[in-house]
């Protein structure tokens, strides 16, 4: 009962603070540009925290550290890619150009950037529709994870948790637009930083420091791991602090995770929006160090402590919980003081809320602006544009709520592969439109649809996790192929299609005109 009272007090404080930020956002939101890209007035720190908090969800914090407890520290390669590709390459090679092209083409979303660059509202509407459909599923999975965690910890009904979280996020997002979303991200990011820092320092301190902690993890034999029922006994055959044998099943699993998420980050519409919010190029450049440190303190810590949880379970006579998602919550609830249990839960809640608000915003703008405003109702005023997007966002939130309250297997499937799907669909046309002036509308269509259809085909018929759930078993028995993330084939295919169709069907005069306009500031 005491726990529920604490939860209620914290939740009310949380909701009040975010609603206040939503109100401030509402006061500042006058134009469509304000609502969609925070008036293009954001500074380095807010961009970095918002990018990081959008990127790192609750799934990344507790889900991936749970995965690290099974496969060991080799998953740290993903932390490396998260910073090297997710921050350095993303900002330097994509961020600056995206911002400049967005300004030249007056684009406020990724689909609008594609549509304006290739002079095609249909391209914008179809991209918006793909993003919105898969984002609803992804967002409901984020709520599903966090509501389950709170249900287990506080014993509050799952349905009540889902409704409370969705309503809180929905209010400040609809009222305050992207201003409110980005300001709340800064607050949520700080909470996530504090939570992960204390958790990591606490775990390393319990195990005697970095070297002794890793040595203790390396010393866990399969027999010891078996005694606590840890899946690491079979899934980390070379030990928790060593890479698994090349081309073994655990190796393929890690390879898939590392590249699927590590490269997929470059084409996430909700992250690309952050580039468009920068007040100038300097803000984007200065966001790089803040972003790098933020991701270091999030994924590097989460992936480092995962395997160490096995040592703590062995030392404290705890059994491995049923699923990897419960590993870190178990360690926190059993070995940390009560005040930190609350802090950690709210840090994870902050991670879930920040990702969900960014996804709601992107999905809402995809349906409101990209599908309806540009595809159906053309040439409407700024005020109407915001109103339509607000209504679309309410519809998206309602759809997410319905799906979260009635979770289907297909939701988990769609959300787990969101990163890969977005990368295979958008990365090739997005990259080539930024760097290759001859990219044509036909090339963009071919790369986008080719990448999308191939990814769906791979997940439905081949991929070892999804194909058995959908068609009973994978069409290819060899695990070296069916464990491969579609990004390995889908991404090169999408690039090839974009290039080949751009060469075969060249730009017409209208496309050439918009191409020249889009490169004006570059």
């Amino acid at each position: 009962m005491e726990d529920v009272i604490f939860f209620t007090i914290f939740m009310v404080l949380f909701a009040a603070m975010f609603t206040f930020l939503g109100y401030l956002g509402y006061k500042k939101t006058k134009t469509a540009e304000d609502y969609f890209v925070a008036g293009r007035k954001m500074g380095a720190v807010v961009i970095a925290f918002s990018y990081g908090a959008t990127f790192i969800s609750a799934v990344a914090l507790i889900g991936f550290s749970g995965i690290a407890s099974i496969y060991g520290n080799s998953i740290l390669w993903l932390a490396f890619l998260n910073i090297f590709v997710g921050i350095l390459i993303a900002f330097i090679f994509y961020g600056f150009r995206t911002r400049k092209m967005g300004l030249s083409l007056k684009a406020l979303t990724l689909p609008e950037l594609l549509g304006n660059r290739f002079n095609s509202t249909r391209l914008q509407s179809v991209s918006g529709l793909i993003i919105a459909i898969f984002m609803v599923a992804y967002t409901s999975a984020v709520f599903l994870a966090i509501a389950s965690l709170f249900q287990v910890t506080f014993g509050i009904s799952y349905e009540l948790c889902v409704v409370v979280f969705t309503v809180v996020v929905g209010i400040y997002l609809i009222v305050g637009g992207l201003y409110a979303v980005m300001w709340t991200h800064a607050v949520q990011g700080i909470l996530m930083l504090v939570g992960m820092l204390i958790l990591t320092i606490g775990i390393y301190a319990m195990l005697g420091g970095i070297g002794p902690a890793h040595e203790a993890a390396a010393g866990l034999t399969p027999e010891i791991l078996e005694s606590i029922s840890s899946p690491a006994a079979t899934q980390a055959p070379s030990g928790l602090t060593s890479m698994p044998p090349i081309f073994s099943q655990p190796f393929m699993m890690i390879l898939t995770l590392i590249f699927g998420v590590g490269l997929g980050v470059l084409a996430q519409p909700q992250l690309i929006t952050r580039y468009l919010t920068a007040k100038n190029e300097k803000a984007l450049r200065m966001a790089i160090p803040y972003g790098g440190i933020f991701i270091l303190l999030m994924t590097f810590t989460a992936f480092s402590i995962g395997p160490l949880c096995n040592v703590l379970m062995v030392n404290n006579g705890l059994m491995y919980p049923g699923t990897p998602d419960k590993v870190v919550p178990l360690i926190v609830s059993e070995l940390f003081p009560q005040w930190f249990v609350f802090l950690f839960l709210f840090a994870v809640l902050a991670a879930a809320m920040s990702t969900a608000s960014a996804l709601f915003h992107t999905a809402g703008t995809s349906i409101g602006r990209d599908v309806f405003e540009k595809g159906v109702l053309k040439g409407i005023s700024h005020e109407k544009s915001i109103k339509i997007t607000r209504i679309a966002t309410i519809v998206i939130i309602a759809a997410t709520l319905v799906i979260s309250l009635n979770p289907l297997d297909v939701v988990a499937f769609m959300s787990a592969f969101f990163f890969g799907l977005m990368a295979n669909t958008f990365l090739a046309p997005y990259t080539l439109m930024l760097y290759w002036k001859k990219t044509s509308k036909a090339g963009a269509w071919a790369g986008m649809l080719g990448g999308f259809l191939f990814t769906m085909f791979w997940y439905i018929l081949i991929y070892f996790k999804s194909a058995p759930q959908i068609i009973g078993s994978s069409m290819i028995d060899n695990y070296l192929i069916n464990m491969l993330d579609p990004i390995f084939i889908g991404l090169p295919l999408s690039f090839l299609l974009t290039y080949a169709f751009s060469v075969l069907i060249k730009q017409n005069k209208d496309e050439q005109k918009t191409m020249k306009k889009s490169f004006e500031n570059i």
Partner: protein, 55 residues
């Protein structure tokens, strides 16, 4: 084994920290470049105004 990790895991461990340090150096470099550019600009402005004053 280095710090209890095999060479590949250790490379990833160090690589992650180095990538973050690289981000930090990028920021420091940008900050100094901006500072020196601003300094050069203000010096040029001062030179111009001094020349105008002499003429």
């Amino acid at each position: 084994m280095i710090l209890g990790m095999d060479i590949w895991v250790f490379t990833a461990w160090v690589g992650t920290i180095l990538a973050a340090v690289l981000c930090l150096f990028y920021g420091i470099y940008q900050w100094y470049t901006k500072k020196s550019n601003e300094k050069n600009l203000s010096e040029r402005k001062n030179d111009k105004s001094r020349k105008k004053g002499v003429n």
